[in-house]
């Protein structure tokens, strides 16, 4: 009996989302009085044993270069083999790009109920019930998992990383059968030097109120200053002022940063659906009737072209940046 946590890596580095699921899975294990174990597939350049500080006692490491590139089918079979050997009863993924791809396959393979988009620890007082977002963040559903093995895919940025822990995990080198991937990756194109939107703690986002792509300089400056990612509303992406991968909202990316700063975005319900899980929302808009103010924590009614440069100056003072 154990909780098995899938530790997602990219190019040998452990993803931030993996630290959240490690903390989350360890918490489940502790509350149920069973062991927390991790699984890593592929070559890793970081200290795996050090992940023990998040509460995981043992980590199965399949140190096989054939697993360096994610493939849903190959990963499903590898994970299933480790599940069988370890006797895991709860399997935890991040509901990130890889998790969304492999967790449903594993659910079928193991006939294990899946909750994707979980936002809280399971309630085990009467069965095994996990809360998840539905209706694009406009509501939650409590889902009962009615199978012996249970799979949870945790939404990124919805569980705090346990930073106070100590200890090191036992790393168990593990061999599994790895078949050849039917999907061949031919090129990878990562936006260098920018914070990936899905992993960003702070997001600065611009809308039509900015009037044109030439005015994004101050958005980028504010974002750089805060170590933030940049995002935009749908009309901005549709008119190609900004690239599509920056589009947040119902039909774009759904994000949940700690701080979301919306500049010149009115806050249509479709936009809110993509950002309403942000912990703190700041809205800067010259229209006091903009619906976004109803969903905001802090706001300034004013012209972005006057407010944002002054905001940048004030943040520089607080950060001690010249």
């Amino acid at each position: 009996m154990s909780v098995l946590i899938f530790i997602d890596q990219s190019e040998g580095h452990i993803k931030k989302a993996s630290l959240e699921v490690l903390s989350y899975g360890a918490d489940i294990a502790e509350k149920s009085g069973i062991a927390a174990e991790g699984i890593i597939l592929g070559n890793v350049s970081e200290d795996i044993a050090a992940l023990g500080k998040y509460g995981v006692k043992k980590i199965y490491h399949v140190d096989n270069a054939a697993l360096n590139h994610f493939d849903a089918q190959v990963f499903t079979n590898a994970i299933a083999e480790v599940v069988q050997r370890s006797g895991a009863k709860v399997i935890v993924f991040s509901n990130n790009v890889d998790g969304k791809s492999v967790a449903p396959r594993l659910s079928v393979k193991l006939k294990a109920g899946l909750v994707s988009g979980a936002v809280a620890l399971p309630d085990t007082s009467n069965g095994f019930i996990v809360k998840k977002t539905v209706f694009s963040g406009k509501a939650f559903a409590n889902i009962a998992l009615n199978t012996d093995i249970k799979i949870i895919a945790l939404n990124p940025n919805s569980f705090s990383v346990n930073t106070g822990g100590e200890g090191s995990a036992e790393v168990v080198k593990t061999d599994v059968k790895v078949e050849e991937a039917k999907v061949k990756v031919t090129s990878v194109n990562k936006v260098k030097g920018e914070v990936p939107l899905s992993e960003a703690d702070i997001v600065v986002s611009g809308g039509r109120g900015l009037k044109g792509p030439e005015n994004w300089g101050m958005i980028e400056e504010l974002a750089t200053l805060l170590g933030a990612a940049t995002a935009c509303s749908r009309p901005v992406a549709d008119t190609h002022w900004r690239p599509h991968h920056e589009h947040v909202g119902q039909t774009g990316l759904a994000i949940a940063p700690n701080l979301y700063i919306a500049i010149g975005i009115s806050g249509a319900i479709q936009h809110l659906a993509g950002v309403n899980r942000s912990k703190i929302i700041v809205v800067i808009n010259k229209d006091p009737e903009a619906p976004f103010f109803k969903a905001a924590d802090y706001g300034i009614v004013g012209d972005a072209f006057e407010v944002v440069p002054r905001l940048i100056e004030e943040i520089k003072k607080v950060k001690g940046v010249a």
Binding site: A141, K184, N189, D303
Partner: protein, 247 residues
Amino acid sequence: MKILVCISKAPDTTTKIAFTDNNTKFAADGVQWIINPYDEWYALVRAIELKEKDPSTIIHLVTVGEADAEPVIRKALALGGDEAIRVNAGSGDSYYIASQIAAIAGQGAYDLIFTGKETIDYNGSSIGGMVSELLNLPYVSLAIKFELNGASAAITREIEGGEEVCEVGLPVVVSCQKGMAEARIPNMRGIMAARTKPLKVVEPAAVDSLTSIVSFELPPAKAGVKLVPADNPAELVRLLHEEAKAF
């Protein structure tokens, strides 16, 4: 080339979300149903584009739902597609729905199975992955570009912080998102033609859901916005830094 496109109905994106029966059921009264945007704008339209390039392509649509799903599947047929199949089933979880689709897909010898990346109501993003496992097929999720090269496909998919291009032999299951195709609206000819296109109704396979919905809840209301005067951005910075500890 034979393509199966999975279509789900979903509440219109402006729907006010509410629940009935002691918060156990979605309040569907008066709700305007649409084709789930990812299924329509990206999965279905990309399939139609492939057919426009190669008219011998056959497109089938599949939906799992009761008779009230038919207006939505007719609307999908008005956009394009040769025939539709409705699996006459009520509610079930992702595993149940995926099993129904896999049962249809398994009989049709499809080269491509397209789904949207998720539905905008239950946001499971699971159907594509589950169908691919049920059929033991490769799966490429979150596709933003799709090109056919004979018996294989070049697919660009989203990864964290960028994208990657991959090659995969057919058949394959692909979940589609923004970038795959440009949204279009049905024209009058399409709407007329849709009325006479075959819509087959089949009974569901006997499968049990693995999960069940216990209850719904709405997020707690926000305490209300704290407005800072436009001439005092320093106060906003102070609140974010000291009160909210946001940076």
